[in-house]
């Protein structure tokens, strides 16, 4: 059923492949991830290779993206956090470009699949845990014991802090995935209203007039979705910075 709002997220095999019993087919998901990486890496390399002292328009965009993430990271994690700049910048650009790709008609939304966003979130959290223990040793556990808490409350607070730390990868991935999924479904549902109102035999001409309303709404929703696409990439980046800050300065 083509009008089913959920079928746009189907993963199809483009090049069926199997290695040692595992299905490693090249799917449309893989195709759009490749396109995302190729476009963002190609653009950044191409526009900054000239290294003009006075940047042109294309170079300005790359430099603005760099400055944007660099400031974000420096503000939330300090100068020491700048060693994680490549990680945060790659995550931001990948999610941003993948979200914008998803907004094109007939394109596949990579970030509307929880396995993709969960992999990205686990990358962040495992970086935090590994770097946190490597840098602070067992002092990293001070993260779970905020200073200035009365002794009686410590077990309770530790429990809450541990639970909130464990739910981080889940909330980080579900936020991005659910936003993209819900947004695309809403868009599809509203454009479906246009088709069914305009195509209704009973309504005749009035159907076409009534169809204007959901059509206008769909346009407004598209604009909102572009905002959400940027916002979710930004939120993912800012949360990554905050979690990295925990690894660098564990005692709050």
């Amino acid at each position: 059923m083509a009008n089913d709002p959920i079928s746009q997220f189907n993963v199809n095999r483009l090049l069926p492949m199997e290695v040692g019993g595992y299905d490693v087919s090249f799917t449309n998901s893989a195709l759009f991830m490749t396109l995302t990486v190729a476009l963002s890496a190609g653009y950044l390399i191409f526009t900054t290779s000239g290294r003009g002292l006075i940047p042109g328009r294309l170079q300005s965009i790359s430099e603005m993206a760099y400055e944007f993430i660099a400031n974000l990271l420096r503000e939330s994690a300090g100068n020491e956090g700048m060693k994680f700049f490549p990680l945060v910048f790659s995550l931001f650009v990948f999610i941003l470009v993948a979200n914008f790709f998803g907004m094109m008609p007939y394109f596949f939304t990579v970030t509307a699949h929880i396995i993709i966003t969960f992999a990205l979130a686990m990358l962040v959290i495992s970086t935090v845990v590994i770097y946190g223990f490597w840098r602070n040793g067992l002092g990293f556990l001070k993260l779970f014991v905020p200073s200035g808490v009365p002794g009686v409350l410590v077990p309770l607070i530790v429990l809450i802090e541990v639970l909130s730390f464990l739910s981080r990868p889940l909330s980080l991935s579900v936020r991005l995935f659910a936003n993209m999924l819900a947004g695309h479904i809403t868009l599809k549902v509203f454009t479906g209203f246009v088709i069914s109102l305009a195509g209704a035999e009973v309504l005749g001409v009035f159907g076409y007039i009534a169809a204007i309303l959901p059509f206008v709404f769909a346009i407004a929703l598209t604009a909102l979705e572009f905002l959400v696409a940027f916002l979710q990439a930004y939120v993912f980046a800012i949360l990554t910075c905050m979690y990295l800050n925990d690894a660098i300065h564990p005692s709050h």
Partner: protein, 78 residues
């Protein structure tokens, strides 16, 4: 008959799950309302707090999205 009852339960459950979005709506409204009243008192400090506003918005909105997700799962996946 059993199918009809299951479908009815699914749709009722999906509708009830969507009630959770009301809470997120209250939260987002409080967030922007308080930001606006603060920003009107001290407009020069407003721009510097934009990042925090967006962060709070995303964290609050995510909870509404979670309940929408439950509704979608009930309709399409269960």
């Amino acid at each position: 008959m059993e199918d009809a009852i299951m479908n009815a339960g699914k749709y009722i459950g999906a509708g009830m799950a969507c009630l959770g979005m009301g809470g997120a709506g209250v939260g987002v409204g409080t967030l922007f309302g308080n930001f606006l009243s603060g920003a009107l008192r001290n407009p020069s400090a407003a721009d510097g707090q934009f990042g925090r506003l967006i962060f709070g918005f995303a964290v609050t909105e995510a909870l509404g999205i979670f309940s929408l997700l439950i509704a979608l799962l009930l309709i399409f996946a269960v």
